[in-house]
């Protein structure tokens, strides 16, 4: 006997009330990170031994600042979702899991803000 409402059967989501949203966002950020990672590595090869002025000029240039901010957003977003996946798979103690998830999410936010502020400061010449 099926006690589900027709709508719930069509949605097919189960008790989590949530389907592929996490999976989709992880893939979306992964796709964004393909060109952004290539850009990062090419840039890092170029500035790996640069002096301070060159490094600032790199990050202050419109393209450099744009791609750097995009990379930071995509990487922190993708990273916190990926770590969440690892934690829910392997950490079974409820309070440890909750604590780890809070730490991951908040540190990802903090890291992203820190990096973006730094890049914005340089691109505005502060």
């Amino acid at each position: 006997m099926n006690l589900r409402t027709p709508l719930s059967t069509v949605r097919g989501l189960g008790t989590a009330h949530n389907g592929v949203h996490h999976w989709w966002l992880l893939r979306l950020s992964a796709i964004a990170l393909i060109p952004l990672s290539v850009w990062l590595m090419v840039s890092l090869i170029c500035v790996s031994t640069a002096d301070h002025a060159t490094a600032v000029a790199w990050l202050a240039s419109p393209t450099g600042a744009l791609f750097a901010v995009l990379f930071i957003i995509a990487a922190t977003f993708h990273g916190q979702m990926g770590l969440q996946e690892v934690v829910v798979d392997y950490v079974h103690n409820k309070s440890c899991k909750l604590g780890a998830l809070i730490l991951i999410k908040l540190s990802a936010f903090a890291l992203a803000t820190l990096c973006i502020l730094a890049i914005v400061r340089m691109s505005l010449g502060a």
Binding site: I34, I45, G79, I119
Partner: protein, 165 residues
Amino acid sequence: MARSPPVTEIGNGVVGVSTFEQAEVRKELAMTIRERPLSPHLELYVIQKPQFTMALSMTHRITGVLLFFGLIIIAWWLLAVVAGPEAYTTAQEVLGSWFGRLVLLGWSFCLYYHLCNGVRHLIWDTSRGMETAQIERSGIVMLVVSLSLTLLTWILAYASRGGPA
């Protein structure tokens, strides 16, 4: 394999047997069901037969976690650039030391590995290349490409500065 109904439902509909017998039948069935093999467990792979593809999959997760910590290094380096020439020189010295270079070498491999294997995952998401032979072949290709990219990156990095310093 056909799915069996939940244990609690078995025996309820049996006509002509006592409640006690129904309970016994249920208990026996519960025992049988419990002894059935479950979906492949991690221990099965680790203890009985370590697999190439399993190792690649685990490495994908490990490199992903390490890359998150790598973001801390990136944030620290960015802050050093903002802080000024002195802090920047210190950061460059730390990253340029043998230990710093070792960390960066590991970080660059993690990035290329996670990038290449991530592309592999995206291809699988389109339900292509899912046969065992294809998965093993793409695993080897991915490993070779990510190692080559790491090597190429370091060759170019050293070439752009004119030899190790």
